[in-house]
């Protein structure tokens, strides 16, 4: 009799335990879901806070004047809010830095994936990882104290703050980004394609450039877009080395201001909350966010659309 009751009690206890286990599983699942939602809230937060304060800006400045005006003097007594000089500065710097990072990064990737033997790769890859881990403030320092003086020797009329030295620093900084992503893409190309090309009598160079690179083109171009997006968003290097003069020019030896360096400059000055000067920060930030968002979506699209399945 007692045996049976204790058996029943045992059974009851274990049912309770199992129920409790299942219950904590459900609780855990929901809490973790809430954590995952935080990333969504971050995006929503970015959009709302940029939009809200941009509305304050666009209630005083028309979108047309903002996007197509050629003079950017938001902190003057008689302010003018044409964002073109900032866009021009950002584009100039992005263009030159891409001209450095894209060819060097791609060639580095081809070398590491197609030509280098294992020992060389084991030496070079960690060095590139170190390069990738160096903070942008250090590259800013390098641009200001090393690159600019060198440019001045070659081209004496280079200004102390100039677009070129910042661009070179950003270009070097984004080499590892292009090279590592492109190398991954090249390595994912199956060996059978290379062997086929060799069997037809191609040299290594012909195989690399006419077979492997075209087969990996989706990953490679995605890395280019990411490098461009990174260059547009880069802040400290341009703040330190490119100066703070909104300048509608394509001369890289002059001082320019980018969207990002304006945001830093305006946030450091005394710009009371509620003034157009303060709101202009968010309007420029919104523009920057939309541009990088567009580039991110574009690179995602390239990967999805041109991915080859082997």
């Amino acid at each position: 009799m007692t045996d049976m009751t204790s058996a029943a009690q045992n059974k009851k206890a274990s049912i309770i335990r199992i129920k409790r286990m299942k219950f904590s599983n459900v609780i855990a699942k929901n809490i973790l879901f809430l954590f995952a939602i935080i990333t969504m809230l971050t995006t929503v937060g970015i959009i709302i806070s940029l939009l809200k304060d941009s509305l304050g800006f666009f209630s005083e400045v028309s979108i047309k004047d903002f996007l197509f005006g050629k003079v950017w003097t938001p902190l003057f007594n008689d302010p003018s809010f044409g964002v073109l000089p900032l866009i021009c500065g950002s584009l100039l710097i992005t263009l030159i830095s891409a001209m450095i990072s894209i060819p060097i990064g791609l060639f580095t990737a081809i070398y590491l994936s197609e030509y280098a033997n294992r020992r060389v790769r084991q030496v070079i890859k960690p060095i590139l990882e170190v390069l990738a881990g160096i903070p942008s403030i250090v590259f800013g320092y390098f641009a200001l104290t090393t690159i600019t003086p060198m440019l001045k020797i070659i081209m004496p009329h280079t200004e102390i703050f100039n677009a070129l030295s910042a661009s070179i620093a950003i270009g070097v900084m984004t080499i590892p980004l292009v090279s590592s992503l492109s190398e991954d893409a090249l390595r994912a190309v199956p060996d059978s394609l290379r062997q086929g090309a060799f069997a037809l009598g191609s040299t290594k160079m012909e195989t690399s450039l006419r077979v492997v690179v075209p087969a990996a083109i989706s990953g490679i171009s995605a890395s280019f877009v990411l490098a461009i997006s990174r260059a547009i968003g880069e802040t400290m290097i341009v703040t330190i080395a490119a100066g703070a003069r909104p300048n509608l020019t394509l001369n890289p030896l002059q001082s320019v201001q980018t969207m990002t360096s304006f945001i830093v400059q305006a946030s450091q000055g005394d710009n009371p909350h509620g003034t157009v000067g303060y709101y202009s920060l968010f309007a420029v930030g919104l523009l920057l966010f939309l541009i990088t968002l567009g580039l991110n979506i574009f690179s995602h699209h390239i990967v999805e659309k041109y991915r080859m399945e082997y």
Binding site: K29, T39, I46, L50, L128, F139, V264, H300
Partner: protein, 284 residues
């Protein structure tokens, strides 16, 4: 015959050219490091590590920057790691393959591509103004947590994906629930990978300066922080401040600061490499 010779020669030249191009990045890195070491090392004295910034380069130190950075990093890890790991576990273990999951994933990849200065604007609008946390360590750390969150999530996801399926099946066969399996089997096996992600995010948080400038971190601070609500500076901001001063010696002081910053970053890097090698050997 000539044609083949020509093509082979072209291949050799190409090989030489791309090898030299590969060296460019490495050479620039070497110049950068040598330049900084030559300028900075003379200033790396005891005074430098134990003093506050000063008008006189010889007496200036980096103490508030180091203390501020330590605060920021500890709080950032405290906020970002549980949330990032939790998100990764949810996506990899619980989430169904539906549109919400897909949207969460796309959103994370977009967040990792968003410039850090935009996070700075978010921090300024939400943490500093709306929540009224002011220009404090807490605002800085919360903003920085959002900056590094995608890094923690993506590396934790990779680590969790790499845990072999049969370990999970073994645990289920013993009657464990999903949550017990995650806690006792999946996360412990994925720990080295997760730790690598944590170190990556610490290095990022240590080197980032733009978001901290936006939430009002000072570049010149004359006392140490006495809690999470006090004003602060950080290592990179201290360096930025010295770089902007006209006297040439301050640029050397900035170089000394950069040596400290890079010293910490490279050691963090070394830890991840050691960890990776150890882990790879263990699984082979």
């Amino acid at each position: 015959m000539n044609n083949i010779k020509y093509r082979k020669m072209k291949n050799s030249i190409f090989h030489g050219v791309i090898f030299c191009v590969t060296l460019i990045g490495i050479i620039v890195l070497a110049i950068l490091l040598i330049d900084i070491i030559i300028r900075g090392v003379p200033f790396l004295t005891k005074i430098f590590f134990t003093s506050f910034p000063s008008r006189f380069p010889q007496k200036a130190g980096i103490l508030p920057g180091i203390v501020g950075s330590v605060y920021i990093i500890l709080l950032t890890v405290l906020f970002a790691v549980p949330i990032g790991l939790g998100t990764a576990v949810y996506i990899e273990e619980y989430a169904k393959n539906n549109w919400i999951t897909k949207f969460i994933k796309i959103n994370i990849s977009n967040l990792s591509g968003t410039p850090s200065i935009v996070y700075g604007l978010l921090g300024l609008a939400v943490f500093v103004r709306t929540l009224g946390l002011g220009k404090s360590i807490l605002s800085g750390a919360l903003t920085m947590s959002l900056v590094v969150l995608p890094i923690v999530i993506v590396s934790s996801q990779e680590a969790i994906k790499a845990v072999p399926q049969h370990l999970r099946h073994g645990s289920y066969a013993l009657g464990a629930t999903k949550w017990q399996t995650i806690r006792k089997i999946v996360v412990p096996s994925a720990l080295p990978g997760i730790f690598t992600g944590v170190i990556l995010s610490v290095s990022r948080a240590l080197g980032e300066s733009a978001p901290l400038l936006m939430v009002g971190a000072a570049t010149y601070v004359s006392k140490l922080p006495d809690g999470v609500f006090s004003v602060f500076t950080a290592l990179p901001l201290q360096i930025y401040y010295w770089m902007g001063l006209p006297k040439e010696e301050f640029k050397d002081l900035a170089a000394a600061g950069i040596i400290v910053l890079l010293g910490i970053l490279l050691s963090a890097n070394a830890i991840t490499i050691v960890l990776r090698n150890k882990y790879q050997k263990a699984t082979e």
